[in-house]
């Protein structure tokens, strides 16, 4: 229990290794196209990171993280889209100065909720606040009434379905099924050429480490311990006088904000945003990344995301048929055999041997790794 405020020694080493991997090794080994792919994968790592806190530690499985990813992404995309549809860029339209899809849908004036997105400051605030407040409302409505476990999962899933249908249906305001495409510049700085991709990659890695630090802080603070205690014995925590609902809401909001940051970075890195990243399937895939990496491991979530996505890209390029079998099988195997994912394999099997080899006997780091998921996220 002798945790520092922030990280144990082995965790610090882990973070350093990840930093070297992301900042030095990958940029040196990969060309810009592949690096941009990694940047795309890392946007999901933000979501996975949030899920570690909310699901791994808090025991709240949200199947609607795509909603927050999408909200963040759409906020950023709206800003970029407005910048890309300046009057001279869109002079062939019947009403210049509005995004092209509005023009196609016979909308002649910018809707009121688009107008503030002319400002970058507002956009950045919106990327964090819109999903945050949305999560607060859902969380408050659910957790105050003690809805949890499977019911929460199903309701968040329904929210994801609602938002997708809404975005697809309101084509004139959202770009419909195609989403917002053809995003070009950020404050006049072109985001499409190679050097911009590299800059954005490093910026994103920086943000990711910021989020890792926040996650580490949450985990090692008293708050993190209450979260775990709540996951394992909710009633005892409640009877000890803690407001269980508020802690759950907090965890859910943090997860939502992380996901939204990922979504905003996605819009910047990939250059478009569409409802296919909002719905149920992507939301569950994000849970898969977390589960494969390890639902109790902050760094494991990052590795899991990169690994699954890398496998997805390379396998679906060469064996499109095998990919779904592979993903499904991997997932079943992880759930059945390694409930703590890759990080669990590392922590339970590999690390003890490594420590033995080096000859240092270390205590197991912290309290969380002992609580194998058998008793974990129950109803």
């Amino acid at each position: 229990m002798n945790d520092s405020r922030f990280a144990t020694r082995s965790e610090l080493i882990g973070i350093l290794v990840l930093a070297v991997f992301l900042v030095v090794i990958l940029p040196l080994c990969l060309d810009v196209f592949r690096l941009n792919l990694v940047a795309k994968y890392l946007t999901y790592a933000f979501v996975a990171l949030g899920l570690v806190i909310c699901w791994g530690y808090g025991g709240i499985l949200s199947l609607g993280q795509g909603v927050f990813f999408g909200l963040g992404g759409y906020c950023m995309a709206m800003f970029l889209k407005l910048e890309a549809s300046s009057v001279e860029n869109t002079k062939i339209q019947s009403t210049p100065g509005i995004p092209d899809f509005m023009d196609w849908n016979q909308i002649t004036a910018l809707p009121f909720f688009w107008k503030p997105f002319h400002s970058l400051t507002f956009t950045i605030a919106a990327v964090i606040l819109v999903p945050g407040i949305f999560a607060l409302i859902i969380g408050a409505a659910m957790f105050k009434r003690r809805v949890g476990g499977t019911y929460f999962a199903i309701i968040t899933q329904a929210v994801a379905a609602i938002l997708t249908i809404l975005i697809v249906g309101q084509q004139g305001y959202t770009g419909g099924i195609n989403g917002m495409t053809d995003l070009r510049t950020l404050k006049g700085w072109d985001i499409r050429p190679d050097h911009a991709k590299v800059v954005l990659y490093f910026f994103e890695v920086g943000l990711l480490f910021g989020c890792i630090f926040i996650a580490q802080f949450v985990r090692h603070s008293k708050l993190g311990r209450i979260l775990v205690a709540m996951r394992d014995q909710e009633d005892r925590v409640r009877f000890s006088g803690y407001s269980v609902a508020n802690f759950k809401i907090f965890a859910f909001c943090i997860a939502a904000i992380f996901a939204a940051i990922g979504g905003a970075m996605f819009a910047l890195n990939v250059g478009f945003m569409s409802p296919s990243f909002v719905g149920i399937v992507p939301s569950i895939e994000m849970v898969i990344y977390t589960a494969v990496g390890g639902r109790l491991s902050i760094l494991g979530a990052v590795y899991g995301t990169i690994l699954v996505n890398f496998a997805k890209t390379s396998l679906s390029e060469s064996f499109p048929e095998l990919w779904l079998f592979g993903l499904g099988g991997l997932f079943i195997a992880v759930v059945l055999a390694f409930p703590n994912g890759l990080a669990g394999i590392w922590g339970d099997y590999v690390q003890p041997r490594v420590s033995k080899l080096i000859g240092t006997r270390k205590a197991k780091p912290g309290w969380t790794d002992n609580s194998v998921a058998d008793g974990a996220p129950a109803e």
């Binding site: 499985l61 999962a153 048929e321 759930v335």
Partner: protein, 308 residues
Amino acid sequence: MFGDYSIGDLGSIFVMQGFAGLILFSVYVLMALGLAIIFGQMGVINMAHGEFMILGAYVTWMTSNFFQSYLPGLFSGYFFLAMILAFLASGALGMLVEWVLIRHLYKRPLDTLLATWGLSLMLQQAYRSIFGAREVGVELPQWMLGSLHVTDSIEVPINGVFVMGLTVLITIGVAYIMFRSRWGRQVRAVVQNRIMAGAVGINTAKVDRYTFALGCGIAGVAGSAFTMIGSTGPTSGQLYIVDTFLVVVFGGAASLLGTIASAFSISQTQSTLEFFMSGSMAKVLTLLAVVGILMLRPQGLFALKVRK
């Protein structure tokens, strides 16, 4: 929005939309009955439920092809055999899945969700590899085509009536099995207190396996019935899964009556709204209402009164 229609028109609209709603209602009930057994009674979140339905649909499609090529004389009755085959196929697959996968996860309900999602991905790919990526439609026998004219402005399609009748029969059957038969009593005993049920000599593992298989089998029959109103593709199952879960949860998970009531209210709301606005907005409003009510009343419409 009512201004453009006369009273008589409005009456017909509500009857027609109400009838469309009744077909949707039958569809929801068929989908949800299997899930109400698996999720409501056993607590297992089966995300592959849609794929079990699709299996039933493909079995029906194969049966109809078989009858068309080899027994054209009996084609008008193929459907009854197809449904039995669909039940058996989905039930058998369900039994296998329970044995391989689900029985290890009874203590971790959220993990059943993840594992069955993996299963659903594999099944989808399997369908795509075996039956091809295209949607397939079943040819209906002659007597199922056409519609009944009730009045000048109201007509109802016969296949819709058939699906509704089927739904009533299956619902009565399920209710009988769950509440009147010896086996249903065992199921409910296992659900309420597994250890005690085991102690009085019920083979709980066997009851679990057959309950799961029954739920999957009903899903197969549902899929078989769907072939009469729409076409089927490898990924059709995913379209239904959220609706189905909402129906079950909205009704109060452990209550069959609640499932029926919630299927009725959801389907009627949606089909009435659909007439006045686009289908997607009707769906959004319906789902929003359901989610909103669930937030006010988390246990669903018909909750069992239990101490928690």
